[in-house]
């Protein structure tokens, strides 16, 4: 997905690096970074951009995509890694 904001730069608190809005939009594969709204709400109407660019199915998955607290997400990843591929 392409938007007029893709080139805008922000310091990413997860990476400790400057990242573009275009990166934030696809940080989780075909989904945006779970922090995209809180990172960009002061810059423009990011919720509207998401509504325009995500399908209904993507919005559903996006809403449920954020990890829980750190320990819980570590356990989820451990369990996933233990399963045979």
């Amino acid at each position: 997905m392409k938007t007029e904001h893709d080139h805008k730069l922000i310091r990413c608190p997860k990476l400790g690096d400057e990242m573009t809005f275009g990166y934030c939009l696809q940080e989780a594969g075909d989904l945006p970074c779970p922090r995209i709204v809180s990172c960009w709400f002061r810059a423009f109407d990011v919720a509207k951009v998401l509504e325009e660019h995500l399908t209904s199915e993507q919005r559903q998955r996006f809403a449920l995509s954020a990890p829980g607290d750190k320990v819980s997400s570590l356990i989820e990843i451990i369990e996933r890694a233990k399963k045979p591929s």
Binding site: R11, D17, P34, I36, R42, E79
Partner: protein, 453 residues
Amino acid sequence: MEQVKILLEDQEIPRQWYNVMADLPTPMRPPLHPATGQPVTPADLEAIFPMNIIEQEASTQRWIDIPDEVLQKYLLWRPSPLYRARNFEKLLGCPVQIYYKHEGVSPAGSHKPNAAIPMAYYNKVAGTKRITTETGAGQWGSALSMACQMFGLPCRVYMVKVSYEQKPYRRMMMNAWGAECIPSPSTLTQAGRNVLAEHPDSPGSLGIAISEAIEDAVTTPNTKYSLGSVLNHVLLYQSIIGLEAHKQMQKLGLYPDVVMGCCGGGSNFAGVATPFVCDKIHGKEVKIVGAEPTSCPSMTKGPFAYDFGDLAKSTPLLPMYTLGHDYIPAPIHAGGLRYHGMAPIVSHLVREKFIEPRAYDQLKTFEAGVKWARSEGFIPAPETNHVLAAVVDEAMRAKEEGKEKIILFNWSGHGLVDLAAYDAYFAGKLQAYELPDHEIERALNAIKDFPKP
């Protein structure tokens, strides 16, 4: 001649870490297992952490001895100097004395080795033969690489590919310290291969890199994983910063009115703050301030004070605002209020009002960082610039209030490997992307009556 540095001798280094869990007036809720909803047990984590670290993660013991082997490595740069920022004070012209812990003197240039060294040590004594981790821009990855080398442990770091390409110098640091640095997603893990199969040009993400590092640890014999922030044992190890600062301020016969740090995952902030939080819990008058970016707040209030996913999982109305009305609310979960990405201990202390969070715009932070570099000489890491903006703010408040204040803060690392960020700032590429006030007000008003998690 005016004194600038307050030093501790090697033999004055603190011999114990401080665990704030012992002094919390209200206990923290234990983390819950995502599948069972029951409190997490040591067995849930033993696939990635050695048991001695898991015990510390859950410990409520107030003081924990620092092993001699760890102290011996700390002595390479610790006790770190406490500086008085006399030039910055003069520049600001406010009635404040400004003291800072210089954590940029570590070999890796930041506070991160304070945690990396005990992690490598505890893994070594527990029989771990190899360590994996992930890193974003490389601050943690380089610190752990150095620590693993010190204890003879091979280390593999999965570095988010976009940063691997943008930040070559930290990758080179990792290599210099003998670690493998792998751009993530990689073909070395199933998690990485899955991503590459769907998105061959994926720039990576921290989530993917964590998945790769954990999978590597879980599927390789005698291999464990290390995490550089957020968790309780990381904050415990970082308490050495505040404990030293406490002693150094005592040497001067002073006690700070305000203690400050920048908050990313919370480890450097908690490191300087928790020994003073202990004093505050026991009745001492001290203000403790955590500084974070306005753009990505974890602790301060905005229309989206909590992460989007937290909202989605805990508050059925807010996602309707953000995602449109076809959203089907997820079941309300019992996690309650928390600040995603922030250490649970720091979140708890914010809720209990022992810590005051403040947010600063990215341009203000760089402005403060440049003022600092041009007065005190040292170029701060961009994260460190957040606390510098908070120091400027506090100094101006002191001036307005006509009060003299002693400010102590943690200068968490240098920015010599982050000069591209300064370049972007000087070139005007970092902008204050601010909606007009009335637009932000509109957004706030639209959700003001919604239930909060």
